[in-house]
């Protein structure tokens, strides 16, 4: 079994860990000015919103060129968000979103992006 890429995995881990650890380990991060704290508070919905939108609306081709995607996935993600907002239940929202897309693909209505 090949292990040639294990050192690459280790280096990728080294490139990732400081981003996660430094703000948790540097002293004084809990005594930031209120404006900075407000900024950090807004980071959560901002990053999650960007992740959801980009993952739904942008697709990459084989050469990693991005393009705008319009499809049933928008409806599925929107449905999940609506269920979470109304029913407060993420699990049900995810099941409904995945099942909806699976059914549409089974009917040939929602081709893979």
């Amino acid at each position: 079994m090949s292990a040639a890429l294990v050192p690459l995995a280790f280096l990728m881990g080294l490139a990732t860990y400081p981003w996660r650890a430094v703000p948790l380990l540097v002293p004084g991060m809990h005594r930031l000015p209120p404006r900075v704290q407000l900024y950090l508070r807004l980071v959560g919905p901002a990053v999650l919103g960007a992740l959801a939108a980009v993952d739904t609306m942008v697709v990459l081709d084989a050469a990693r060129h991005p393009s705008f995607h319009v499809g049933w996935e928008w409806l599925a993600v929107g449905l999940c968000i609506a269920i979470v907002a109304i029913r407060k239940n993420l699990f049900v929202g995810l099941i409904v979103a995945a099942a909806g897309i699976a059914i549409l693909r089974g009917l040939g209505l929602a081709p893979l992006p």
Partner: protein, 276 residues
């Protein structure tokens, strides 16, 4: 919200995230197998990097013949957003021992952040067991097990995207974002970051789009005035009692007594209550 109630909600949300992590870990295992990764190599990526987007990208980079230096630099760029997560969680975890925080950092993913920040805000303080449940139970274990399943069994299982697994991640991120929106500032930050993220992604690269949205979106939110009656968000995570009056865990002042299940009877209800 009482600790026990918040943990129950965390566990339910974590179940949904575990489905997402398992599905995506499996798809990652399939992609890695298709790119020629061995189970050991794919497993090492999931164990040591533990960052889905950059792992998927790495499969493409390796297939595309990128140099290792290029792969590592792109990985660092793609995962830069984790700095924001750590900074947002730092106020809550400031009293934890340094080795504990160092260990927590390794499993700080999009999902772990979303689950833990919502849980911490519901109870108004940190909860280490809750963090581990959100980070390891919902993501680390499913992701790593599913990676191994995908890379070893992938040849005999039909394309999982047919079953809609590709929409689980964006749906989970969108749903978790809703749980963090407690006022018009959060809403503005989320919407602005979505628009910025998509725009920059189309003009440059999705990794850049996510980072740009995460950096600029909060600035847009800060520019939005609070609605009448909306609490000052700054006070919600300010942990310096001398300056803000916020009573963190262990503060002996009246009104901060903690019941066995973690509830502060005198604590003011927070806007997050009632949200996932």
């Amino acid at each position: 919200m009482p600790l026990a109630a918040s943990r129950r909600r965390l566990a339910l949300d974590a179940l949904g995230i575990a489905v997402s992590a398992g599905g995506f870990g499996f798809v990652y295992g399939l992609a890695a197998r298709a790119a020629g990764f061995s189970p050991l190599e794919a497993g090492a990526m999931s164990l040591l990097v533990f960052a889905g987007a950059s792992q998927f990208a790495a499969v493409g980079y390796v297939l595309g013949g990128f140099s290792w230096l290029g792969v590592v630099l792109l990985t660092a760029f793609l995962n830069a957003r984790h700095f924001l997560y750590g900074a947002a969680l730092a106020p809550y975890l400031a009293d934890e021992r340094r080795p504990m925080r160092a260990a927590m950092a390794h499993v700080l993913t999009d999902e772990a952040f979303a689950l833990s920040i919502a849980h911490f805000r519901r109870i108004g303080r940190a909860d280490v067991p809750g963090y581990w449940l959100g980070a390891i139970g919902s993501t680390f274990i499913p992701w790593n097990l599913a990676t191994l399943l995908g890379v070893t069994l992938g040849g005999v299982i039909p394309d999982p995207t047919r079953f809609g697994l590709d929409v689980i991640f964006p749906a989970a991120m969108g749903g978790l974002a809703v749980g963090l929106i407690v006022g018009r500032r959060e809403l503005a930050a989320a919407l602005a970051s979505a628009v910025i993220g998509v725009s920059v992604s189309l003009a440059w690269d999705p990794a850049a789009g996510i980072v740009a949205g995460g950096l600029i979106g909060p600035l847009v939110g800060m520019a939005v005035p609070r609605a009448a009656g909306e609490r000052d968000a700054e006070t919600m995570i300010a942990f310096d009692p001398a300056r803000t009056g916020f009573m963190g865990p262990g503060d002996p002042r009246p009104g901060n007594e903690v019941t066995p299940d973690g509830e502060r009877p005198g604590a003011e209800r927070r806007p997050e209550e009632g949200l996932p």
